[in-house]
């Protein structure tokens, strides 16, 4: 459904009038992935890793610096504004903060009708019926339509955000930290709703979150980002059962488990995430990596497939380079 190829988004920061002294921030660098209809790709990573920028670049809310995006076999990148406007119907976004993303001075009806009016979809007389049906799908009552955003709780507002994303019957939705602001009991309700809607409408999701457990719950595939790069990408089950990249392993071990009896083998990373303005040379993770080798400092690793050709498990790490893997297995044989 969605095919993203070698997408990059670089920001140019600072500099004088003539553009001298500008520095480049590689927010997203050389990222490729695909999402099938009815599937969810979960995107995890810490603050500043570029996951939100990636989500926006895919929708062209940020203009990508290079790379291509295709939806349903047709390009989204490289088309003019008018063509893009038409294509926007097929792709929607759900934001983190439902307070900030709903206009406080408009009723829910106005908010939900707007996209239908803008894209001139169905006869005006039918629009209201359509919106009424939608609000019931997301689990609110029809009466909610005449009310204003402040009259709803956070969870209800997020349901409205989801309803808005659904008005145009999109094929693809980016959910950017869509449940992060919600309390756990409500979060679980909204997560279940997203899964039900996906099953019903066959929507492809790019689900961005910092919370690994949430991502695992909702995703078919999971991508892990670090400093603008996708360091690991695999089927959700494989990734959580056998994380390969040292960063993914550390990230997973750092999640607090609500069970006092599990003594987790925590890999505590030293230091902070480096500034994306001056990323380390070679592999961006080498400064914090417990398994760093000399070459990690110098050479940027390629993507290596640790899975099978049918079920790819991409890891961007020197540990999985063919020569390194050969070396390790010969060492193992030696031992």
């Amino acid at each position: 459904m969605l095919k993203v190829t070698r997408l990059s988004k670089h920001f140019h920061i600072g500099g004088n009038l003539l553009g001298r002294g500008k520095s480049t921030l590689r927010a997203v660098h050389d990222v490729s992935f695909e999402v099938a209809a009815g599937q969810t790709l979960g995107l995890v990573g810490e603050s500043g890793c570029g996951k939100s920028t990636l989500g926006r670049a895919v929708l062209r809310l940020h203009e990508p610096t290079s790379g291509t995006v295709e939806l349903d076999g047709r390009p989204v990148t490289g088309i003019d504004a008018k063509a893009l406007h038409a294509r926007r119907r097929e792709m929607q976004i759900i934001f983190q903060d439902p307070y900030a993303s709903l206009n406080p001075r408009r009723t829910i009806l106005d908010t939900l009708m707007e996209p239908l009016d803008l894209h001139n979809i169905s006869a005006p007389s039918e629009r209201r019926a359509r919106v009424e049906k939608l609000i019931e799908i997301v689990g609110l009552r029809k009466q909610a339509l005449s009310r204003y955003p402040h009259e709803f709780s956070g969870g209800q507002r997020q349901r409205i955000g989801i309803a808005r994303a659904l008005t145009l019957q999109p094929k693809f939705i980016v959910a950017d930290e869509a449940v992060s602001a919600l309390d756990v009991s409500v979060q679980a309700q909204v997560l279940n709703l997203i899964r039900e809607l996906q099953d019903e409408f066959g929507i492809a999701f790019l689900f961005i979150s910092h919370d690994l457990a949430v991502v695992q719950h909702i995703s078919h595939q999971v991508g892990v980002m670090y400093l603008g790069q996708m360091v690991e990408l695999a089927e959700a089950e494989t990734l959580f059962a056998q994380p390969r990249h040292p960063y993914t392993r550390a990230l997973m071990s750092a999640v607090p488990v609500p069970d006092p009896h599990t003594e987790s083998q925590r890999i505590v990373l030293s230091g902070d995430v480096p500034s994306p303005l001056s990323p380390p040379s070679g592999c961006p993770f080498h400064t914090r990596c417990p398994d760093a080798m000399p070459r990690c400092k110098e050479q940027e690793p390629d993507n290596h497939n640790c899975g099978t050709p049918e079920q790819a498990h991409w890891v961007r790490c020197h540990l999985y380079a063919p020569e390194q893997v050969g070396l390790q297995s010969s060492q193992d044989a030696h031992a």
Partner: protein, 329 residues
Amino acid sequence: MSEPLLKVRDLQVEFHTDKGVARALDGISFDVMPGETLGIVGESGCGKSVTSLAILGLIPSPPGRIVGGQILFQGQDLLSLSEREMRKVRGRDIAMIFQEPMTALDPVFTIATQMGEVLRRHQGLTRKQARQSAIDWLARVGIPSPERRIDDYPHQLSGGMRQRVMIAMALSCEPKLIIADEPTTALDVTIQAQVLEQIVKLSQDLGTAMMLITHDLGVVAQTCHRACVMYCGKLIEQSATGPLFAAPAHPYTAGLLASVPRIRTQRLDSLPTIAGTVPDLLHLPRGCRFVERCGQAIDLCHSAHPPLQVDEHSGHELACYNPVQGEAR
């Protein structure tokens, strides 16, 4: 058994709003023993932060008001102290760590100035001693090259570093009790792991008691000896962490634990949820506050709020007429 360091008894706090009086805390009682880490968990609006503010005498008034109860710290009722006396307790005997270190640190002063002020005021150190002591503390919380970092302004530090500075500042006067309100919520998981480890280790080394206020059950499970679960201004369950997570007795605690997504080997089709939402404090249901969302409410639950009852044998406290039983536990 030793005397509790902090005894909170029947604490009641009200907030006056345009729409009426909201009872944010309705008769909360608990103890903190010397050297122990007590977790206080609950969702937004349950009163966990109000509890910490009340102990520190920081409830904004108006609109807030402590209308009843006692807060006994080492036998002394903090509610009877004047603002001047309270100021001596805060920082020296009871220190606090807030969620957002950027707002808790003053942006226009360097770390040296801010930490120095605390040390000079409470420990009576000279300027030079205070600086040295501050550097030592920064080193202890794991800040690299503290002798340079100490002259930085808060904006020059990352979120994790800022939170470490807050911890260093809180610990520097060697308080007897630290109140940490969502200390790692704003941090990324890998940084959260570092910071939590640091807080736990240092408070153990110093024998400091800690009240850890959080919405994250995972954090509680990994750091606290005991935990109190709060709902809508009431304490509904209290127990040692082990039994609480293994066999939650209150339907809310059980529901909350079940609805936390966790990394599992098998993906679930859907997460268990708690129906409905937290009621508005101005329009609380009659009887138990959880009754409208509870799957196993009996008639009695609709008419009266269950009292908090203590199991003498295990020390487990529970406010529920129809708790989760045997098998399900």
